[in-house]
Symmetry: C2
Subunit: 459 residues, 2 copies
């Protein structure tokens, strides 16, 4: 029966699995798990509790789709699931995975355990693993698949079809055929469709596409994702410097990269680390990830404390000034967050041309000034009417209006310059949007405000 | 020669195109454009100025890859490019696009112009367009492709291959073959690979996969993206309620959806609207998009102003209290942003189980309390040492420490409850992270602080 997909499908399975587990209906549970799609099961696993995860894994472990299940599972759950397994048992269970997935999975174990498990893989698996691990995290070499079809250029279409029929079942995404010469150097590519559309006696070298895009295994995953997105390819070949084909990156891996990068960027922009799985961590781990980022904000607050302290006599004379601190900080902070988010995302999606940054920055400043004028006027007018009992309402009006204007303009300047500068020096601009930019803007805003107030009130 | 991809490839083309344009080297420019990949050209277009875009489009207009170029181009640039074309010319140029892309493109014109252009399409194109437009924005029906292969179940493998050879060249992503019965009802699916792997005299109904996942044209694009990501499919069939096949959604469209949704979420989370193309807008449009979101922050600031005003006598008595406003607001605001980002992204990626929200919220509160204790202690100790000239350093220490603790804990509560509540009532949780949550937290923090200060100092 065809599966119709509806939003609560996952939830239905979750309830059923739980019920069967609680009733200890082993056989039914076993059968249900074996007919559930591994990806769906991985999704359900997220919502089980610790004991359920461990117990139910005894059934999952024997399913055919185990490699896909382990691949799709949130990796933060892995160590817990294998807690009661010896390193040898773990090694034998996870060795069914493709090497690049195995490398990623091992990363989720504490280093000591991972080393123990690695040592118990067989020598072929170990060799393959070392090959993957030679590439840096987040490089193309780490996600490329080693299962692909590379055919010699001298084959005819008929021979290629025959060869495909022999091996087609083992290959994950057999939609492109990579054409290599006698030295395994890639010389062209063709799609399965082209095999079917051409005469059987033509040579692959005659029908292949010789203009193709490739990446090296050291290329950044984000660049690979960008290429696949731009050109709408289903897979990209990965070539070593000598143009030898060493792997392919498929579109499903690219989708994972895009999602992970987006999540990482959002987390970094909020100053919450970059751990996709933070929701699955303990309170202590969660707080530990977030603690250092808040330090920026704390130090900024202490600096602001010192600055305001320096203006104590001014404050003593005009205590009403204190009441405007929140609105001046808030407006600068929020307009700055808007700017830095627009710029950081613009850099990530290629909308910011790094050759013409002055245009981008100048526009942000214009926007900041425009918004600053409007909100400064609004607050100035409000103050003019509200604080008539103040000894000089016009002065106060001018002070707060001018402070809003200058803090919002400067906020846009700072919030656009910092991410662009970070990108230029090859730092991740996403980290700038978080507490750093906000804190810088807070300090600038408070200083400007008291400086402006001091100038006017001493007149 | 194979294209090696490197980061500045786009930039090289940009410079070359500009140089040729300035030298008025028409023929060379024409040739260069015609051998550039349309997707790359669309990317270069982003960085040209207005006049260059309009002039160079005269060459682009005649290229074979025009539909792909228009599809990949930032849509904010469309109206400008067609500025000097009549509605009839525009209609005839853009009618080369697939209907679903045409519908999206028309959306980028001012409504009046779009209506004029629509009226000038031929009647077949108009009928197809109305069919697409019957579905809501962001629904599967809007992005589904109408080019797919649907074969009858009674065909043999050999007949199917023959039919494929006749039509395979016209279909965008011919990797799945959809099997239908005599009523055009979808009954199964098979991949091109399966055609090649099976005996020629078998019927499609014998080899097809009968268990398949599909969506309806009214399904939300995000749900479709979720399914494709989870199951690693290259395309999903779209079926009407009577199970008639009406289109397919391909993985390249899904990638665009994922990226757009991520950008939209980031922008909403920063309170910067949800316009992907904001960087291409004028200063006025940009400021206009951002203005309303800042209003929340402004109103919040005015409320804080009123609250602090209410504590004027307390401030008069202890003016040092003013200096702590920034640090208390900053810590609450930043920890709250962390929490709401984690929760909002967790909801978007399926990491937050909406059936067990109390667990999620309680953990956030624990994290907030833990971080609040640490940062409260740090500030309390600092104050104890720094402000010894204050009449009661211990009291001030307690006031600020306790205020940090309570504002950070409450911030985590508010920042986790609001997005979950919004999701439950089917509102987009991403909007909550922006100025709304921050402003609410600012007000709560300031109120708590003065309340605590008032209680201690009147002792």
């Amino acid at each position: 029966m065809p599966l119709e997909l509806h939003e609560n499908q996952g939830r239905v399975s979750l309830d059923t699995i739980r019920r069967l587990y609680r009733r200890n209906a082993r056989l039914t549970l076993y059968k249900l798990i074996h007919k559930t799609h591994p990806a769906e099961l991985a999704c359900v696993y997220r919502y089980l509790n610790s004991a359920e995860r461990q117990d139910i894994f005894k059934y999952v472990q024997r399913m055919e789709g185990l490699p896909l299940f382990l691949q799709e599972l949130d990796h933060a759950l892995i160590p817990e699931i294998f807690e009661n397994y010896s390193a040898l048992e773990t090694a034998s269970i996870i060795s069914v995975m493709p090497t690049e997935e195995l490398a990623e999975l091992l990363d989720s174990f504490p280093e000591e355990n991972a080393d123990d498990i690695k040592a118990l893989l067989n020598s072929k698996e170990q060799a393959e693993l070392s090959e993957v691990l030679q590439y840096a995290d987040d490089s193309a070499g780490r996600i490329m698949s080693h299962e692909y079809m590379a055919f010699h250029a001298s084959l005819t279409v008929a021979q290629a079809i025959e060869k495909f029929q022999l091996m087609g079942e083992d290959v994950e995404m057999p939609f492109y055929i990579y054409v290599v010469n006698q030295d395994e150097v890639m010389v062209g590519v063709l799609s399965l469709r082209q095999l079917l559309l051409n005469k059987p006696d033509l040579l692959l070298s005659e029908i292949m596409e010789k203009d193709f895009i490739y990446v090296t295994p050291r290329e950044d995953q984000e660049v690979v994702a960008e290429l696949v997105t731009q050109y709408n390819y289903l897979a990209l070949p990965v070539l070593e410097k000598d143009r030898k084909l060493v792997g392919i990156i498929t579109v499903d891996d690219v989708i994972d990269v895009i999602r992970e990068e987006a999540t990482e960027d959002m987390m970094k922009m909020a100053g919450a680390g970059e751990d996709e799985d933070i929701l699955l961590k303990t309170t202590l781990q969660n707080a530990g990830t977030r603690f250092p980022w808040l330090m920026a904000s704390w130090i900024g607050g202490v600096v602001a404390l010192g600055i305001i302290g320096a203006f104590e006599s001014l404050l003593n004379q005009t205590v009403a000034l204190a009441a405007f601190i929140p609105v001046i900080m808030g407006m600068g902070g929020n307009v700055g967050t808007q700017t830095s988010t627009i710029i950081v995302r613009g850099i990530a999606t290629g909308h910011v041309n790094l050759e013409e940054v002055s245009k981008v920055i100048l526009k942000e400043i214009r926007v900041g000034m425009l918004l600053g004028i409007i909100y400064g006027l609004l607050l100035g007018i409000l103050v003019g009417f509200q604080f008539i009992e103040f000894h000089s309402p016009v002065k106060l009006s001018l002070i707060v209006g001018l402070s809003i204007f200058s803090s919002m303009s400067l906020a846009c300047l700072v919030a656009s310059v910092i991410p662009i500068f970070l990108e230029k020096i090859n730092f991740d601009p996403a980290i700038s949007t978080g507490p750093f930019v906000t804190t810088a803007i807070d300090i600038i805003g408070v200083t400007l405000y008291f400086f402006i107030a001091g100038s006017f009130l001493s007149l």
